[in-house]
Amino acid sequence: MELEDIKALLELLKDTDVTEIQVEKEGSKVKIRRGRFYTSVEFPAEAPGAPPQIKHEEAEKDRLITITAPLVGTFYRAPTPEAPSFVEIGSFVKKGQVLCIVEAMKLMNEIESEIEGQVVKVLVENGQPVEYGEPLFLIEPAVQQ
């Protein structure tokens, strides 16, 4: 919350009859009261040393869909070592189409696409272990999906 933001907030209030507003954003807090009340802005510092949250790809998150691992296991792009990959970068996939396999407890779990669209990125190498919730693919949804 920078001075710019406070300014904008004060500006917004000018032509209203609002007497109190509270905005919380990314750990900082702004509280403004008008007239006989007071205005306060608080910036609670983050707990120092806390591990960073897993960041989403900010720029892409608006349009791309991330397919994540629904279970712990080993990631395979093809049904057998000799077979071709289920999908490649650029592949168009339908909803329900198999994207990869996650092997757990000797069971091959087929991971299907939740949407129709185009594979933009494969985030994990073939044969690598993946944890629960780990991003596997980025898919650009088809228009009007």
């Binding site: 040393g49 806390a50 712990v72 757990a104 944890e131």
Partner: protein, 450 residues
Amino acid sequence: MFKKILIANRGEIAVRIIRACRELDIRTVSVYSEADRQNMHVRLADEAICIGPAQAEQSYLNVPAILTAAEITDSEAIHPGYGFLSENPQFAEACAASGIAFIGPSPDNIRLGGDKAKARQVMKRRGVPVVPGSDGPLDSVAAAVKAAKKIGFPCIIKASMGGGGRGMKIVNAEEQIEDAFYMAQREALTAFGSSELYLEKYLQDIRHIEVQVLADTKGRIIHLGERECSIQRRHQKLIEESPSSFVSEKLRKRLGELAIRAARAVKYRNIGTVEFIVTPEEEVYFMEFNTRVQVEHPVTEMVMGVDLVKEQILLSAGMPITAKKVFKPRGSAIECRINAEDPDRFIPSPGKIEFLHQPGGPGVRVDTAAYCGWTVPSHYDSLIAKLITFGSNRQEAIARMKRALDEFVIEGIKTTIPFHKRVLENRDFKEGRINTSFLDRLHKPETPTG
């Protein structure tokens, strides 16, 4: 020895196990749910794997996910901690089937530990006294009435697979049995998946005293003295001590012998705890066999100068109890469980720890996974820290606990620290006059407790 161990748990016990592994130069893998991403056990382990969402059923109780995590990290063993999968014989078997060592006793040991009615029968046969009661499971109301009449009222009807106070009904007269029987059956089925019941004499003014045992794969069994666990609220222990101020040298010898006999009766291997009921007349009855590391294990560690979790890992790796391992007790230790709970009504108080300062100095040990800025999730057990103090005698251990509780600062959530301070100021507690109904008395203001 194991080179890498996966820890299938969270919170303070996961941190406790990581500490033992680090000191043994064993690499560690933590597993965690999405709610625990910021947890201390994730930060301290060499590797950490998310195994599912917040719900324990889909993460910390998710056997395929945990075994897969062990496989993909090349872990040679799994330490289950306490709770979660630690007393699940199927999990121990699944580990064995996957070629992964389970750090704990055999599946059969675990199975018997969970079946209270069967354990009673085995112990009785092997000369370990059990509370007078039904010979085995009750197959009908009539059987319950017969058993109750034989031993006299009051009695208690319990679930064979039970624990934690659920599925228990006290009956004071014959006409109460039928209702109690059917209610207990329903509760037991819901809580434990089995409606099997048994019946015992209901003993009052008793103490809950347990004995720590160690058993190696060669069949050598030793005990490490007792723990006094009578300060309970609804069958949940809150304060534990070692030694018990009630136990004389003679009684200690008897408890130790019975514990070893109990362990031998079931061919026990690994560390375990034999829980006893002790009456004011020093009558001792076997209650149950706990087949895992206990929450309250630190009080034994402080008095005996032993690291029980390291011992457990070494035993699981097939190491024998060596002749050198003669543990001699010294002084007195006490543990207070600090829960994220309202200290008056014991309602959970999850949330962000805004400030944390741990007590320190001589004779003070803190086992916790909490840190300044950590958010206690609402999905799991409310235990957030164990404060343990050691003194050259019980009085010093208590004085130290009081000053350590005064130093302990946890801001942002409610904790049971004020509750512990109240107990420690109580004259009955200070003088060692405690039993399992101590807290009921404490909360009745009319009781003259000083």
